[in-house]
Symmetry: C2
Subunit: 234 residues, 2 copies
Amino acid sequence: MELNVFEKGAPRQNLAISAYQQLKHDIIRGLYAPEQKLLMSRLKEQYGASTGPLREALSQLVADRLVVAISQRGYRVAPMSLAELNDIYDARAQLEGLILRLAIERGDDDWEAMVLATAHRLAKVTDVSTPDELLDIWDQRHKAFHTAIASGCNSPHLLQMRDTLFNQVERYRHLWLQETVMSPQALELKRQEHAALVEVILARDTAQADSLMRDHLMTPVPIITRVLEARGIR
Amino acid sequence: MELNVFEKGAPRQNLAISAYQQLKHDIIRGLYAPEQKLLMSRLKEQYGASTGPLREALSQLVADRLVVAISQRGYRVAPMSLAELNDIYDARAQLEGLILRLAIERGDDDWEAMVLATAHRLAKVTDVSTPDELLDIWDQRHKAFHTAIASGCNSPHLLQMRDTLFNQVERYRHLWLQETVMSPQALELKRQEHAALVEVILARDTAQADSLMRDHLMTPVPIITRVLEARGIR
DNA sequence: AGAGGAATATATTTATACAGAATTTCAACA
DNA sequence: TGTTGAAATTCTGTATAAATATATTCCTCT
């Protein structure tokens, strides 16, 4: 009998797909510098795939705006800039605000329950052991919390756009996570922000929720700005 | 000296790129039915490219959500449904509303000038000769008008999301354009809607503009619904 | 005889290796 | 210093081979 590693319905792994996932991961984590050339020969040995699948993976990363392609001149990691940082975070705050207002308008009881549940899981994350594990689990539950809130808007296409934008944000956001080592104080502050968010959301206070969400999303920008400037990126 | 056909910065033509553009065009124009299988062998002779470039083109169409890929089972044209129609148009109305509010808030004098200019070009489109040409030119200037309005928001990323969503809308929108043969009356009605939009936009009347824009964008939905139902799509 | 299911055959996707075209590099020279 | 022109590198596309899925045939059992 064959051993079936994959979930039912999940697409079986291609070289193109796995190369795409790994490359994306590595670019977001800053393994390759912005504007660095992505040499086929290097990628081939790095990801164990040949030109065909790799070009396919790179095409998708171009669509994600994490890579730029110049015909006959290969692929490069997309540049980073303060202008892009500001625009991405602004666009994200605007979009997330829109989605939140819709969610408050459209969300049902299941949605409220989901928001409460994910908020609770996030608040309880202080218990775990090592700092590395803490950061991983906190980030994962933090994403789940915000995704739960957004899901209330009930629009697959708006949520898809939110995802796409998040992919682009994540490269900048990673700089923030590296910088902020998640002190107990910072964690407690975030916990309070989230609690406040939950409260106004469940009270269906659109204006207040919108405002809190914006502030919550924009806080990393000054820190990331500092990091980028320190690296000579303007 | 080399002859340079292309704009500065515009990517030079690849087989992958031209195959992508043609395929996208053909899918939007309904040349391939929803869920129709896209056979490599057929695509190869149709677009004069071999598997490599074609897979690359198809990858990008998957990112555009115009094509779906199933591992080891090839590519299919993305399905269409009433649910998707409604969600796409809703998401678009919401996003366009958001962008319009920001444009009214942020747009400068150049923006106002551009809105007026493109509105004028659109209003003057009745003069041209054949009906086919009329539809082409009207559609082109109509897009330019709405793009000019949106550009005021001053956010490349929001405009990029708008573009992406518009690609997905266009397959449905094409059904509407085919159905509405652009009678002089319909054209006159649209002209009035656009004039009203320009007026409230320049008056910076956010609420009114938002409301007019929503109505303007949502009008095709009932007609497209009828067409889809007539084709047995629900 | 007809339905169900294994076994075979065909078709299709996926990956690789190679050939041709374009670009970049780098040294020689004005 | 700047330019020119080969050599090397790299990108782009095709042909081919391997893996996988789909269709067909044929056999068995009720």
